[in-house]
Structure formats: structure tokens, C-alpha cells
């Protein structure tokens, strides 16, 4: 089935579509368009105090002393807390999601600009800010390690002297694939292309910054934490392990979240500070970071220098890919990645192509920069992997003088090869790559665009056409391979049908805007025939939802979506037994038609799911062995990831006088398997494409030689507005996942992953007359101009 979306002119009404998949308006919107959402900063509790964090102004320094006298004396200040105070409680350090440790408040040294040094608790936001200005810290400045390429030099300053026996800034080594086999293929290849490719450090910068409100009931020993978290259950477990509070006495609530994009996966020192403050003062305490704090200290993304090599025959059969990556992990390894995958899922750098061999080696290092490393809608480093392969394929096309679309079409994994095991061991579940590519070319009018480009070039105009084709790997686990801090990646789900046939579904994941309340109601509605409007979806409260690992890496639909479908089927199975009693026939004699069971061959003898629900709680006996009530719970452990894919084509024009890049058109054909809500899927794609424009053309968290963060405000860290992006043109194909109960794959990050190479490939294509084969992101006017002058320098 191949369908093409057109611009929507009519809108279906929820009420007209009682069950099932399709466009449906969102259940979360009525509160949000009235300004009645409930975000963390909206939480106000009686007697609530405010917390502000003093951060290091320098990248690397020893703390000689901290004088809090003046701050503590300020009227309205309740307490000032330093690292030494936390050390007394054993709370100065906390584990990161990569089994490293990170300082909650610095005790010995500061290791990046923006690191947490002390905090003030005060009666108002403003007084808390005033107080931290009065804290006097005496720093002994140390030489900062800023240039990642020099981090392992023998004379580089040692950053992590807190780690026992640590003598250098080495973080970890990692490899995947077969080095020897790859070497053989490279040795015998007609053509080998090498290119250094940089994915600069960027930041997710959700519109809502991170924050928390902590409330501690000393009598009950109960901690309640409202926080900006994408993974409330995982956070609760970590808080229990760190603080020693029993897990059943900790309740984490993630209310409405104002965008996450991975930024709200890690546990930040600020959350722990808020908890400590509530314990110390006995009062509720709110911490909300400001934008500079968000950009300077919370989970960054990317920061990979990739040396790419691609081997091919002279007629364009790609044989092998090899890369060495230098990864900058900042001062603490805060990457949220399964233990077995320190580089996330970068192993899918073999892309969508049928290769003979592949190999990657990676060296990760510490630098005096903020920790993080996996955030920003990247599906665990797949953004970097896709950028590498899709840039390398274009470099190969350039050297072979081949059309980049033709080169890709020649090398795709064929539909009959699925499930396809890559040379790095990933098992792609399903794909029809050529179909997606051809649809994108058709929607773009690819041949006409190339003709237009030729004409424009003859007139001295700079028009570029860029292609990328990506394969994503989303929906982690299975739990045997994947975990966060030892917690297996599986997700629980509970469905309860009330006596009157209304339902409540409880999820372990947590939306940050993806529309779970709608999509998950639709999944259950499709399975059990209750209208989505009658299904309440609850998530983000650890006291009221089953355990699971949360929302990131596009895992909600692949994992929790499967859980929701399966729990609904479990309820339906029980409903069938109850129906057999009601209709006095055997279970095998019943047929299901959305919403009711009827006797085979006699549709007039039927009972609706609502009638069955009432019966399940009602008077009278149920079939033997059947307990009362109509509810079920499961924990879904995925057997494999799902592998969505897509073909993207970008058209840019570059002003030859100013080097400003204008994205004229962007055509995105996505395949996420079974489509649940067209409207929400389209929205996910649009958002990701805009992220791509940001990263390709505007966004970068840069540092000066002293380690000062140069992207510490939205004046300096540029995010696309409505003027920088075109009206997106989307299409789709549907290749269901064979192992997912409803055939769905993830979609949340596809466009963020797939769009940057399309845009960069378009810009480089526009610059072809200058003999340019590669240029590094972000392709700002100055970088493009320098490239046109033959003075391109790497961005890191």
C-alpha cells in the first residue's frame, strides 16, 4: 500500500470516529489551549520555598573556599547549602545513567562552566537569586581541556582526579564490526573515499526548562517530587538508591511536560538539590532552572568527530564502511545508554545498504564541558550514525560523479532480504526502501529539479538538492540486551474497564507533547471497541502507573503501544469467557466484531463490551474459574527493536552574495509501519524536520579556549523560527513491523535523525561549482561563505 498525504482541508471529528486508528483530535488539547495545563512551574504548594543554584563561572578550577556568610544573612534566606554540606550526608556525588558519577555540588573542583557549586533556599524566587550572588567562592584556576583532539595529550590537565587511579582523560573505548574483514574489503576495493565528518555539540532546549518541586512529609517519611522527567519510574528507583529513602515512600510525578527531546531523561543535580532542600527545611521547595542554566549544564547532544571511510566498486556498488569516532563526553559521562551500548545504537552506521563489511572504533574522552551525550531526539546516537553514512554516500557519489539518488537505489537492502542482519549485528525487521525513495522522488519531481538546477547553475545561481535515506532503530529493549542503570527496558501497562464500560489505561511512559492520551486511547479502542473518548489514559505518576522505563528513543509506541494492545487483548479474552456465559454458548462459538461478541451464524445474539463489563462486576455467577472484574496488566518485553525508515529530499537556494541558505522545499516520506493517528504522526515529523534545519544551519554549543560556553542563551544558540523553515511536504509508505502486535514502529525521532544529512547534502550540492565535497554543520552564512572562498575549517 502506498499512499500520498495531501494538505488537509477537512477535519474529522472525534465523535464521528468511535473506534480505531485515523486522524482524531487530541484529548490533551482542551486544557492546553485554555492555558490550563499543569507544568512543573505551575505547581504551587502552601509555604513553598524557592531554590536557586550557584554555578561555576569557569570551566576548570579548584575550590579553595566558599564563604556563605553574607548570603545566609540575607533576609528571606532559609539556608545555603554547599558541596561540603552534601558530603556530610553522603550526597555530594550521584550516579549518572552511564554508571559514571557526577557531582551534585562540587566539593573539590569545578569541571565545567555552569557546574553546580552551592544553592540557596529562600522565601521567593528573587531572594534565592539574590542570595547566590552573595556567595563568595575562591577558585584556583586550572588549565581547561577544551579541544577534544588534545584531551589525551600527555600534557593535558587531568579532569577526573576524583576517580581512583585515573591518570588521563580517557572515558571509554568501544568497537563494533569486523576490523580484519573490513580491511580486506578496503584493500581490494576500486574506490575508497575518506572524509572527516563532524557532528557538533547541540542542545535539545525544550521550551520548558528543567525543574522540580519536592515535598517531604517527615511523619510519613514520604517524598513527593514533581519533576520534568521523561522517565518517572527509573528516576524514582535511582532516588531510592541514592538517598536511601525506601522506594515505596517516593512518589515521582511528571505532570504536563513542555517538550523533552531527550533533555529530560537524565537526573540532574538540581532535582537532587530540591529533594535535599525539602528534607533540610521540612517545607516544599521549587527549583526551576533558567534558560542559560538549561543550555549550559543539562544534557547536550552529539559532539562526535567521525573519520569516515567508504569502499566501493567503480560502478557504485558500496562494499564497506569504516569509521573511527572521537567522542566528547564532557566532564562526567552522563550519557543515557544501555550498559552494553556505551555509544548508544551508533552501530547502525551501516545505514540502509547491503554491505560486505563494516567496522567502527571509538574513543570517548572527558573534557571540561557539560555532561550529557544522548539527548535531542537521536534514538541513542542514530542521528550521528545516519549523518555519517548519508554524508559518506554523497561524498562517494561526488567522487564517482554519480547521481546520489541512483547510487542509493543501487545499494539498498532489498525487501526480500528482511529480516536483514547488518554487519554490525542489528536485525532490521522490515523495509521496502526503494518504494519509499521512489515516492519521495516522485513527490519532489526529482528529475525536473535536476533540470532546473542545471539551468540555474548556468545563470550562476546556487541551488542544491540533497537526499538522505535513513533507517532508524527504535523501541528499546529487549531487556536481555538493554537497560538503564541495570533496569531492563520493558514497560508495564494496566487496563481496567469500569462497570459502565468506561476504561482507564495506565502507562509507564510519559508524553512530553507526543499525544499519548490520544494515541494510546486509540490503540485500546481498536482492540476492545470502546470509543477513545471513554478511555482515560494515565501516565507520569509512579504511584498510579506500572513500572517501566519511560519515553525516549521513540520507544513509546514500539514498547508501550505493544503493551497497550496486548493488555486490551488480554481483557478481551476474559470478556469472551464472560460473554460465553451470558449467551450460554461455548467460547469457541463466539465471534468478535469491534465492540461486541456474537454467536457465530447468529449476529442477533450478541453482547457488547459494556454489557460484559457490567456483568463482570454485577450480581450473579460468572463462568467457572473466572474472577469478578474486567481488568488486566502486563509487562511487555520487546523481542527486537523496530526499524522505521524514510526518504528525504531537500531543496535549498544559497544567496551567492550573502551565503544565506534558504530551505525552499523539504519532502519527507516516512514509513513507521502501522499508522495510528495521521495527525499526530505528521506533527512528529514536522517537528523533527525543524530540528534538522536548526542543527544543519544554525545550532551549535561552542566553547572558547577557556571553556566558556558560547551558546548559553537563545541570543547565541539559534533555534529556527517560522521564517527559517518551509511548509513541509510529507508522504508515507506502510511496511508493518512483523514482531509488533499491531505492526507499528516509532516515529518520534525519524525526522530529527533523517533531515540533517538531507539539508547538508543539499547545501554541499549547491556549492558543487566551487569544487566542494564536504562542509561541516552548522552551515551558517559565515561558514558557507568561508567554504565558498575555499577557507572551510572544521567546526570543532
Amino acid at each position: 500500500m502506498t499512499t500520498v498525504e495531501t494538505r488537509l482541508t477537512e477535519f474529522a471529528d472525534n465523535n464521528e470516529k468511535p473506534v480505531g486508528y485515523g486522524r482524531m483530535l487530541r484529548k490533551e488539547d482542551p486544557r492546553l489551549i485554555r492555558g490550563q495545563g499543569n507544568f512543573v512551574d505551575d505547581v504551587q504548594l502552601p509555604g513553598m520555598l524557592h531554590l536557586a543554584i550557584l554555578r561555576s563561572p569557569v570551566a576548570h578550577a579548584r575550590i579553595k573556599s566558599i564563604d556563605t556568610t553574607a548570603a545566609a544573612a540575607l533576609e528571606g534566606v532559609v539556608a545555603i547549602v554547599t558541596g561540603a554540606d552534601l558530603a556530610e550526608k553522603g550526597l555530594a556525588w550521584m550516579p549518572t545513567l552511564s554508571n559514571d558519577v557526577q557531582a551534585v555540588l562540587a566539593t573539590d573542583k569545578v569541571r565545567f562552566q555552569g557546574q553546580e557549586v552551592a544553592f540557596a533556599i529562600a522565601k521567593s524566587r528573587y531572594i534565592a537569586r539574590d542570595a547566590i550572588e552573595l556567595i563568595n567562592v575562591d577558585y584556583e584556576i586550572l588549565s581547561p581541556v577544551v579541544d577534544v583532539r588534545k584531551a589525551l595529550d600527555p600534557d593535558a590537565a587531568l579532569i577526573r582526579d576524583d576517580l581512583k587511579d585515573k591518570t588521563d582523560n580517557h572515558c571509554f573505548d568501544w568497537e563494533t564490526g569486523d576490523a580484519a574483514a573490513t580491511q580486506v574489503v578496503f584493500d581490494n576495493a576500486d574506490v575508497v573515499v575518506t572524509q572527516e565528518i563532524i557532528y557538533p555539540r547541540v542542545h535539545p532546549a525544550p521550551m520548558e526548562t528543567c525543574g522540580a518541586v519536592a515535598l517531604f512529609d517527615a511523619v510519613e517519611g514520604q517524598l513527593t517530587l514533581w519533576s520534568t522527567t521523561q522517565a518517572p519510574h527509573a528516576h524514582r528507583t535511582v532516588y531510592a538508591l541514592v538517598s536511601g529513602l525506601p522506594e515505596h515512600k517516593i512518589r515521582v510525578i511528571a505532570p504536563d511536560i513542555g517538550g523533552g527531546f531527550g533533555n529530560k531523561v537524565p537526573i540532574y543535580p538540581g532535582y537532587v538539590c530540591a529533594i535535599v532542600a525539602a528534607l533540610v527545611t521540612g517545607k516544599p521547595v521549587k527549583w526551576m532552572e533558567d534558560r542559560s542554566e538549561n543550555l549550559m549544564s543539562t544534557g547536550f547532544a552529539r559532539d562526535y568527530i567521525m573519520n569516515g571511510e567508504i569502499a566501493a566498486t567503480k560502478d557504485g556498488k558500496i562494499l564497506a564502511v569504516r569509521t573511527h569516532v572521537l567522542a566528547d563526553h564532557g566532564a562526567f559521562n552522563g550519557t543515557a545508554a544501555p550498559i552494553k551500548y556505551p555509544a548508544g545504537f551508533f552501530g547502525v552506521f551501516t545505514g540502509s545498504y547491503d554491505l560486505e563489511a563494516a567496522y567502527c572504533s571509538m574513543t570517548a574522552v572527558y573534557t571540561n564541558k557539560a555532561p550529557g551525550g544522548v539527548a535531542y531526539a537521536c534514538s541513542f546516537r542514530i542521528t550521528e550514525a545516519v549523518y555519517l553514512i548519508e554524508r559518506m554516500v554523497d561524498c562517494l557519489a561526488y567522487d564517482l560523479k554519480m547521481d546520489p539518488a541512483e547510487l542509493r537505489l543501487k545499494n539498498f537492502i532489498k525487501p526480500e532480504q528482511f529480516p536483514y542482519t547488518t554487519k554490525t549485528g542489528w536485525v532490521y525487521d522490515s523495509g521496502e526502501y526503494e518504494r519509499g525513495m521512489r515516492l519521495a522522488m516522485e513527490l519532489a519531481g526529482y528529475d525536473e529539479l535536476r533540470k532546473e538546477q542545471e539551468e540555474r547553475r548556468a545563470r550562476g545561481e546556487l541551488m542544491g538538492i540533497g537526499i538522505s535515506f535513513f533507517t532508524e532503530a527504535v523501541g528499546a529493549g529487549p531487556r536481555k540486551d538493554m537497560d538503564i542503570l541495570g533496569l531492563g527496558m520493558a514497560d508495564g501497562c494496566e487496563l481496567r474497564i469500569h462497570p459502565t464500560g468506561k476504561a482507564v489505561l495506565r502507562l509507564s511512559v510519559k508524553s512530553q507533547g507526543q499525544g499519548h492520551e490520544t494515541t494510546f486511547a486509540q490503540i485500546v479502542a481498536e482492540e476492545i471497541g470502546i470509543p477513545p473518548s471513554d478511555i482515560q489514559v494515565l501516565e507520569g505518576d509512579t504511584d498510579n502507573t506500572p513500572f517501566g522505563l519511560g519515553t525516549y528513543g521513540s520507544r513509546s509506541t514500539p514498547v508501550s503501544g505493544a503493551a497497550a494492545a496486548l493488555v486490551a487483548r488480554k481483557v478481551r479474552d476474559k470478556a469472551q469467557i464472560i460473554a460465553s456465559g451470558m449467551l450460554e454458548v461455548s467460547v469457541a462459538d463466539l465471534e468478535w466484531e469491534k465492540g461486541s461478541f456474537h454467536v457465530k451464524g447468529d449476529p442477533t445474539k450478541s453482547v457488547t463490551i459494556q454489557e460484559i463489563a457490567f456483568k463482570s462486576y454485577g450480581a450473579g455467577d460468572l463462568p467457572e474459574g473466572i474472577e469478578g472484574g474486567l481488568e488486566a496488566q502486563i509487562c511487555y518485553n520487546p523481542s527486537n527493536l523496530t526499524y522505521p525508515f524514510g526518504a528525504y529530499i531537500c531543496v535549498v537556494d544559497i544567496d551567492p552574495g550573502t551565503a544565506v541558505v534558504k530551505v525552499r522545499r523539504f519532502i519527507a516520506v516516512d514509513d513507521c509501519g502501522t499508522r495510528i493517528n495521521e495527525m499526530i504522526i505528521e506533527g512528529q515529523v514536522h517537528g523533527g524536520l525543524t530540528d534538522g534545519v536548526g542543527m544543519a544551519l544554525m545550532e551549535m554549543i561552542a566553547f572558547d579556549e577557556d571553556g566558556n560556553c558560547l551558546g548559553a542563551s537563545l541570543m547565541d544558540y539559534l533555534i529556527p523560527t517560522a521564517l527559517e523553515v518551509p511548509d513541509w511536504e510529507t508522504g508515507h509508505t506502510v511496511t508493518p513491523s512483523p514482531h509488533h502486535p499491531i505492526g507499528a514502529k516509532g516515529i518520534g525521532e525519524s525526522a530529527t535523525v533523517g533531515s540533517p544529512p538531507a539539508i547538508v547534502n543539499a547545501v554541499v550540492d549547491a556549492l558543487k561549482p566551487f569544487g566542494i565535497r564536504h562542509a561541516d554543520m552548522p552551515l551558517t552564512p559565515s561558514r558557507v561563505w568561508e567554504t565558498m572562498q575555499g577557507r572551510h575549517v572544521p567546526s570543532i
Partner: protein, 161 residues
């Protein structure tokens, strides 16, 4: 200091600290928490409200400056239980995802439509270009505002005939 401000048609008289930003006055003191705060530099526009009919970034206005003026916030969009067409448009066209930038976007959209009832896509993009949305990619916001424009035009036509 004392301020007297008309907020969504209600006169409020409040004692404030001199330096209180309008966004904090609205959120923390009046508990009108639909107006959000997203940056320190007046770039993001999640805090947009109206002052005397003009959209302003309430993080860059002192509450004291609003003394004697009229403020309208997202909570004042719905009138007599009737959603503003802009609110309806955002729902119909998926103009929001996380909903954090949405109140500011809708206030700007309402002001635009009051000035220009039939804005082009370019005019809409220009009008919201001082605001950032991280979720939607803007196309659906543009469609939402166009929906409101078309809907309002047809309603007006209906009432004229």
C-alpha cells in the same frame, strides 16, 4: 508598591515588590499560569500577553509598568464559554504538541487577526517569528491561524446575511 491593573476585564489591586516581572506577577501572584516563561532574553515568546491590545513579552515588562493598563492573557481568550476561533483552530489543525509555547502563539495570532483578518502564510510566519516552538515545525501553527481566519470570515458572512 501598589499596582492597579485590568487583567482580562477584571480590575486587580495588588501589592508587589518593585522589581516583579509581569510574567511572575501573572503566574505567581494572580495564579494565571497559562502564560509561561521560557528564556531570559526575550527570544522565545512563551510569555506573550497583551498590554493595551498589543502583544508584549511579559518577561520584559515590569508589573509596575502595567499599572493602570489593560492586560489580556490566554485565560481571557475564551469568552462566555465560547472558545476563540484561534483556540479552536489550534485544536483542529494540531497547532500544538506540548502546549508550552501555545498560549503565547495564540495571543499573537489573535492580535494579528484583529489587525489583518485574512493574513497570508508569509504574514502569519512574520507575525509569529518572535516566538519559538520546538515541537510543531510551525506549519500546523500557520494552518491553525488560517483556519481561524477562514472560520471567522464565514461566521461574519453568516451573521451579515
Amino acid at each position: 508598591m501598589q499596582v492597579s491593573i485590568n487583567v482580562n476585564g477584571n480590575q486587580v489591586n495588588e501589592e508587589i515588590e518593585d522589581r516583579t516581572l509581569l510574567v511572575h506577577f501573572l503566574r505567581d501572584q494572580l495564579l494565571l499560569r497559562g502564560t509561561h516563561w521560557g528564556c531570559d532574553t526575550s527570544n522565545c515568546g512563551t510569555c506573550v500577553v497583551w498590554m493595551d491590545g498589543e502583544p508584549v513579552k511579559s518577561c520584559t515588562v515590569l508589573a509596575a509598568m502595567a499599572d493602570g493598563h489593560e492586560i489580556r492573557t490566554v485565560e481571557g481568550l475564551e469568552q462566555n464559554g465560547q472558545l476563540d476561533p484561534v483556540q479552536q483552530g489550534f485544536m483542529e489543525c494540531h497547532g500544538l504538541q506540548c502546549g508550552f509555547c501555545t498560549p503565547g502563539m495564540m495571543m499573537t495570532a489573535r492580535a494579528l487577526l484583529d489587525r489583518n483578518p485574512d493574513p497570508s502564510e508569509e504574514e502569519i510566519r512574520e507575525a509569529i517569528s518572535g516566538q519559538i516552538c520546538r515541537c510543531t515545525g510551525y506549519a500546523t501553527i500557520v494552518r491553525s491561524i488560517r483556519w481561524a481566519a477562514v472560520h471567522e470570515a464565514s461566521t461574519k458572512q453568516g451573521s451579515n446575511s
